[in-house]
Amino acid sequence: MHETVVAQNMVEAIAQEARKHEGRPVRAKISCGELNAVNDEVLTFAFDAIAQGTPCEGMTLQIEHKPMQARCKQCAGTFPITLSNTQCPDCQSDDFELLPDAPLVLEEIEFEKE
């Protein structure tokens, strides 16, 4: 349900960026970490609703989920980690530290020229 706050912040960020560019924003790409618990359907629904009557109305969203990453304490390599597989793929060690989750980032916006 926090997706509505995320959507609100996105609409504001895109509207702000749109003032610096010509044309109409038609597509935005965002990325987020697993632990942000962003549900694509909920976020898209919230974004569509909040975007109405703003420069973001009718935009398409592309959401990229970045996997959780861990650093192996044995070989120092980093690897994507899941609940079901916490083993380092290089040295098979299970001794790791979880790296900070990827933040929610507005990656790019596509503008359509009139």
Binding site: V6, N9, M68, T86, E107, E108, I109
Partner: protein
């Protein structure tokens, strides 16, 4: 078509307030713990008992987050500790800006620890940093032992797991595998401290108090 790279953090407005909160707490040398759980896990009962039991030793204040009512803040004030109630009017988590306002209303000078009792929810509060020193996840045994695998985010991000209402285990009225929860919570978070407690009977609370004391005794910036 023109493609523009932006690279802006979407929750930066919240993050800026979180940094402000953290700076204020560091300057005043206060520790701040953000309690996150489902509704009804016993967060307020744990805090009220902790405040009462440690009254002579550690001064604590509480920021209470709920959709509505002042019920939780009143329960804390009954222990003579200061409490600020935030009503989110439907929002599923506390924001750093709301916490900032509440911090300004608390008598920080007279406190050692500020607890933030977040809105009851295992998902959304995880995504909003408040400027705290760490998150404490509370799970009561009546909720079931599958929560760490169903909601891995909060268990991965927390410093402490309080497993509350363990008196129900001794009474043999719920099926809950403590070892399973310990193993699942540590699957992604090897350093999480786990304390089985009952805020109702007091069982296990001394170990939790020991952790609170250790944190206060640790050297800080």
């Amino acid at each position: 078509m023109e493609k523009v790279n932006v690279g802006q953090r979407i929750l930066s407005a919240n993050e800026q307030y979180a940094i402000k909160n953290s700076q204020l707490l560091i300057k005043q040398r206060k520790l701040c713990w953000n309690l996150i759980s489902s509704p009804g896990s016993g967060k307020t009962t744990i805090l009220a008992r902790t405040i009462t039991d440690l009254n002579a030793e550690i001064k604590m204040g509480v920021i209470e987050g709920d959709i509505q009512t002042e019920i939780d803040a009143e329960r804390i004030r009954a222990t003579n500790a200061p409490a600020i109630q935030i009503n989110t009017e439907g929002a599923c988590h506390l924001s750093a800006a709301q916490v900032h306002k509440a911090l300004e209303q608390l008598p920080l000078d007279s406190l050692d620890i500020v607890f933030i009792e977040n809105v009851g929810n295992l998902v959304c509060p995880t995504a909003f940093e408040l400027g705290e020193n760490g998150k404490i996840v509370v799970l009561s045994v009546a909720e079931g032992d599958d929560k760490p695998v169903k909601y891995p985010g909060i268990f991965a991000k927390s410093k402490v797991l309080l497993i509350n209402k363990v008196d129900l285990l001794s009474a043999n009225v719920v099926d809950f595998d403590l070892d399973r929860v310990r193993a699942d919570a540590r699957r992604l978070n090897k350093s999480i401290e786990i304390f089985p407690i009952s805020a109702r009977t007091g069982e296990g609370m001394q170990a939790w108090y020991g952790w609170l004391r250790d944190q206060l005794a640790q050297p800080r910036l």
